[in-house]
């Protein structure tokens, strides 16, 4: 679906943000991109819809070289949800805000109307449809920003720090919605520092540091690699810490546990199967 080949990018030619990044994301995958601040995560994602063009290397989106497509064309395939919703909201109602992107990207008025209503419903924003985005709370604005992108039904959805400022319930809602989209064949890419969110929902993790990919593979293997965790300044989730402690005392427990259910099984195994 997305293929990035040896992409280099430097802002103003001095500071190197990406130095030779290659990766491939298949259709229908669920991928998390993690790494320190300034590792090049957002820069990488911006290459996927043409906001940035590689200074070296290639970006292939849906089989076509991205350099031949405009940002608007790429945005119909790869929808980007930004970290700060205030950077895009400017109209006086939530509904208009959602319609704006649809019209720009060439949806017919009927499609626009239908998509808009459907998205408002999916995100539980019906009650806010006629409200001004500026009068909403931070979390609500974030959901409106998400809605503006979801409405265009991109095949790939890339989200930059979607969990910041969301309470546990909203986070759960967001996760469920993303998984639902994924079940319907959409590719989901998320840039985040939220290690728990990644472990629970994303089977594949790409770890970045200093403009390079340092690890790419199953979330459990990437996030149990000490070296990677240190280079990306990630702290181990408590679950993994617990698993390691258990592993020391009971070698039969794997030290690579990442799911609560796995830990439960391990503990009940030690206790002799008694629940």
């Amino acid at each position: 679906m997305i293929m990035i080949e040896d992409v280099h990018f430097a802002y103003d030619g001095i500071y190197t943000a990406l130095q030779g990044v290659s990766l491939q994301i298949e259709k229908g995958e669920c991928v998390a991109i993690m790494g320190t601040n300034g590792a090049g995560k957002t820069t990488l994602v911006k290459h996927m819809n043409g906001l940035l063009r590689p200074q070296h290397g290639r970006v292939i989106v849906d089989g076509a070289d991205a350099k031949n497509l405009s940002i608007a064309e790429l945005s119909r395939i790869v929808g980007l949800v930004w970290q700060n919703p205030d950077h895009q909201l400017f109209l006086d109602s939530v509904r208009k805000e959602i319609e704006f992107g649809l019209k720009n990207l060439g949806f017919t008025p009927e499609e626009t109307d239908a998509q808009c209503t459907q998205t408002l419903k999916n995100l539980g924003l019906e009650g806010l449809a006629e409200r001004s985005p500026f009068a909403l709370s931070g979390g609500e604005r974030k959901r409106v920003a998400l809605a503006t992108v979801l409405a265009t039904e991109p095949q790939v959805l890339a989200l930059d720090e979607p969990t910041i400022g969301q309470d546990a319930q909203q986070k759960e809602l967001l996760a469920r919605m993303l998984m639902d989209l994924n079940d319907r064949g959409r590719t989901v890419i998320v840039v985040t520092h939220d290690i728990e969110f990644v472990i629970e929902h994303f089977p594949r993790t790409i770890a970045m540091a200093e403009g390079r990919i340092v690890a790419d593979g199953s979330t459990s293997s990437v996030l149990s690699n000490e070296d990677v965790l240190e280079r990306c300044s990630l702290t181990l989730p408590q679950l993994t810490v617990a698993a390691r402690a258990l592993h020391k005392a009971f070698p039969q427990v794997s030290e690579r546990l990442t799911l609560l259910s796995e830990l439960e099984d391990a503990v009940s195994g030690i206790l002799g199967g008694t629940q």
């Binding site: 608007a72 950077h87 400017f90 992107g101």
Partner: protein, 257 residues
């Protein structure tokens, strides 16, 4: 696109110009700007502009300046074309070239100040010139937020481009309309930030005491007096020249069209 603003942005350097007192630099920049406004002939303006280049070199900012001016070139071209077409003077092209050089000279004179004066220094200079602390502080805050605003503008442009706003396509009318999705978020974000900055300042006791004292005071040294003196001399000299002296013919040179 916005790179010409870089020339008004403070850069940390260790140079003779950076180490001057901001008040003497203020006078210097003011003098240079006034001189650029006094004359409207190509030769005198070129002389003024050329005279500023060694100052920029001394401030180790020549390259930065050159890059910004390259960013300005479209605007300059625009000014030259429109002035040539619309001007009613006898040598419109020559006149508009002079106007373009004047703009460059004006920008350069102010850039010598803003490139080398840290916002905090500016505030301190104003305070010591008996400007009220609140105003001085507001001024330095405004300067400090210029680059932040620039970054924000870029982020907003990116966000809107991803929603299908094509900033560099369409006719003039469409392009003007396209500014709305950029400007509105920029204003909203700025207001939100202003409010939160105000709150955080108040929570840290801004304005709690009537009489503020300052840890670092600016002091005029001999070289500052020298710059101030030369600036005033130049200012008086060029005003006198403009009013009472007829410039030699070669200085009044105009292009034939």
């Amino acid at each position: 696109m916005m790179s010409f603003l870089e020339v008004f942005q403070y850069t940390r350097q260790d140079s003779a110009v950076h180490n001057l007192d901001p008040r003497s630099k203020m006078m210097l920049a003011f003098t240079l700007a006034v001189i650029s406004l006094l004359f409207l002939n190509i030769i005198p303006l070129m002389i003024i502009l050329m005279a500023m280049l060694p100052l920029l070199a001394a401030a180790k900012s020549l390259r930065r300046w050159a890059r910004s001016m390259k960013g300005m070139s479209y605007l300059l071209l625009f000014i030259i074309i429109f002035n040539t077409l619309l001007s009613t003077v006898s040598n419109p092209f020559s006149h508009s070239i002079a106007l373009a050089i004047r703009l460059l000279a004006l920008m350069t004179s102010f850039s010598i100040f803003f490139l080398t004066v840290h916002p905090d220094q500016l505030a301190q200079a104003l305070i010591q010139m008996r400007v009220r602390f609140e105003f001085a502080f507001a001024m330095s805050m405004a300067m400090r937020y210029v680059p932040t605003l620039g970054q924000e503008a870029y982020a907003i442009m990116d966000a809107q481009k991803a929603r299908g706003v094509e900033l560099d396509k369409g006719n003039v009318l469409k392009r003007i309309r396209n500014i709305v999705p950029i400007i509105v978020p920029l204003i909203i974000v700025s207001i939100r930030r202003a409010l939160s900055v105000a709150e955080s300042m108040e929570s840290r006791g801004f304005g709690a005491s009537e009489n503020r004292t300052y840890m670092e005071l600016l002091r005029f040294r001999r070289r500052d007096w020298a710059v101030l003196f030369v600036s005033i001399l130049l200012l008086v000299g060029s005003i006198y020249t403009r009013l009472f002296v007829t410039l030699p013919i070669w200085m009044l040179f105009q292009l034939p069209f």
